[in-house]
Amino acid sequence: MKKYEIKLDRRDFLKSSTMLGVSTIAPGVFFQQLAHGRDLDEPASSKIRWGMLINTNQCTDECDACVTACNEEHGIEDFGRPTTDTQWIRKLTLTSETTEESINVPMMCQHCENPPCVDVCPTGASFIRADGIVLVNKHTCIGCRYCMMSCPYKARSFVHENLENQLPHAPRGKGCVESCNLCVHKIDNGENNTACAEACQKDGHQAILFGDLNDVESDISKQLKKYESKEVRSDLGLNTAVRYRGI
């Protein structure tokens, strides 16, 4: 039987182990970099302002894909108690008092530039991120509900019930206030879209467009430039990041 002798000096051993190590770890690091929009240690940038343009002309009566998608994405349950159940996004039906014509309007946190909820929050749990997303810090929210009193859009819900099996990316808990977070986990993962907008696009309505309001090349900026749009309660001067067409 032939005997093979492996000649391996220290230099060769180090070289091959390094190559093996690099080839094992590198793809992971590379793909992880691809998957993340930015490093989690890196703060959100004020160069970006995330926002939405909602075209009510394309929002149909029967469809509630955005609502369902939001509930699934964040693990929002229905306890069968509609007055206390959480709703991050809801569909409003508006009927004109003069023409009696109806339109559908998806309504959620409007991510104001000057949010009243942030002003009134005693602990600073309600805050606005550098990229314009209004969030609730679930560690410091004491559940006083002053933000709900102050919100002009009725966008916030108080968690009235015990919750179980919450999703890791959507920390929620009894006794805290919450609202639409523009799918911040998806943004931080680099997906740069929201569950509601995705669902609406998937259903072919294209009523919700998500994007960076500060980027002149983004679809949302181009559409905002091209078409007339409105802020809800623009009289309050809050400069909302959610704009509407057709109202």
């Binding site: 509609p82 709703q87 039906t93 508006l94 009927t95 600073g124 410091t140 309660r233």
Partner: protein
């Protein structure tokens, strides 16, 4: 000037026993309610995503503003130097601490996360009036403690005027802070800056009415005789404050009615077929304002201790109702997001929210009242807060070489 009033420590008696039993049962109810809500969640209350502040807030705000108002009696003696009120100074300051503690207790236990009180006490957003109120409330306690020290320690009696003035300014600021909670709600038609002066006036009225009710109880239960001069003074204070509250109430509704966009809300509150209209006209105006004024101006009733007690209790009922109307109706009335459109959604947009307080909210509120009363009864049994005698002979002469001129 030294306080020459005789004070006593209250000993255990039948009246104290019954008072204690009632108080402890209130506290037990409040504690049970807190534990249940903490365990089950707020769905057990009548509150919802539109009416987010319910009966516990009415109780809490009632007790907090009454705390500020009840200190007025001490202020009248030490700030405005009307000496007949001097024997009531210690009690006035004690009751302010009691009521404030009870009110804050309800407020904290109704939080979604009462376990995070330490967060509220250590993490502040100074743009929020709530954060300022935390300082105003805790500072109020400290100021009153100092005030009491000056009143108790004969050597320091000479500083009572200065500390009293500081406490006076502090409590006006405190009630302004409490009223201002409702001044910073940009989108709600029901609220405005007039809430602050209204709350100050209401605090003076509630404080006076509660104080008189306690004086009456002291007379009957603790054998502290109450003289006609004190009764007459409280009658006049009640009249002044009833008119002040009534005046600001009228002013706030009339100014609001002038603004077209507020017409719908004012019509909803004042002239519709709902519980708030009924509460406003029958309970706040009828029972809480006109009826007490009738008693206070009635020839026979206005000089009867029982008559003034009745007026005080009606005024307390009216004031509590008034806070209920202010706090609840403003939330129940829907936001108008899209003027010119009728709104409809599964989240009750455009709909008047229904709110019925649940038993847990009532129990929690009573728990706060119980805490206030428990501190009071405990304090008067260990320290000499209670003046020995409040009959005319003592109140008119004890702190004056010459008799105070009576009107």
């Amino acid at each position: 000037m030294r306080d020459k009033t005789d004070y006593i420590i209250i000993e255990f008696s039948k009246a104290v026993f019954f008072f204690g039993v009632v108080v402890l049962s209130f506290i037990a109810l409040g504690f049970y309610s807190f534990l249940t809500l903490e365990h089950e969640g707020h769905w057990l209350t009548g509150m919802n995503n539109q009416v987010v502040w319910g009966l516990p807030h009415v109780f809490a705000i009632f007790l907090i503003i009454a705390a500020s108002g009840i200190l007025n009696i001490a202020s009248i003696s030490s700030v405005f130097n009307i000496k007949i009120y001097k024997p009531l100074g210690r009690l006035s300051a004690l009751l302010a601490i009691c009521l404030l503690t009870g009110g804050l207790m309800v407020l904290v236990l109704d939080l979604g996360r009462p376990d995070r009180l330490i967060v509220a006490m250590t993490t502040f957003n100074f743009k929020s009036i709530f954060a300022w109120n935390i300082f105003l409330y805790s500072g109020f306690m400290a100021v009153i403690a100092l005030y009491l020290w000056m009143m108790f320690e004969a050597r320091y009696n000479k500083f009572v005027g200065k500390v009293g003035t500081f406490a006076f300014i502090w409590r006006i600021t405190l009630t302004t802070g409490t009223g201002s909670i409702f001044a910073f709600l940009v989108a709600k038609e029901a609220y405005g800056a007039l809430a602050a002066p209204l709350f100050i006036a209401l605090s003076l009225l509630m404080g006076t009415a509660i104080f008189y009710s306690i004086l009456y109880w002291m007379d009957k239960g603790l054998d502290v005789p109450l003289g006609s001069e004190i009764i007459a003074r409280f009658r006049r204070l009640l009249i002044y404050f009833i008119f002040t509250v009534f005046y600001i109430t009228i002013l706030s509704h009339l100014t609001s009615l002038y603004v077209t966009k507020n017409h719908d809300f004012e019509f909803f509150l004042l002239f519709s077929d709902n519980i708030y209209t009924l509460l406003f006209w029958v309970c706040q105006i009828g029972i809480g304002t006109i009826l007490p004024l009738f008693i206070l101006y009635n020839k026979k009733l206005s000089i009867s201790p029982l008559g003034i007690l009745l007026a005080s209790l009606l005024v307390i009922f009216g004031g509590f109702t008034m806070l209920y109307i202010i706090i609840i109706s403003g939330q129940a009335y829907p936001l108008d997001l899209f003027p010119g459109y009728t709104e409809n959604s599964s989240f009750y947009d455009g709909a008047i929210a229904s709110y019925t307080p649940s038993i847990y909210e009532i129990m929690l509120g009573l728990g706060g009242v119980g805490i206030s009363a428990a501190i009071y009864i405990f304090a008067i049994m260990i320290l000499d807060f209670t003046p020995k005698n409040l009959d005319d002979e003592h109140t008119l002469y004890s702190n004056n070489k010459e008799k105070i001129k009576t009107e």
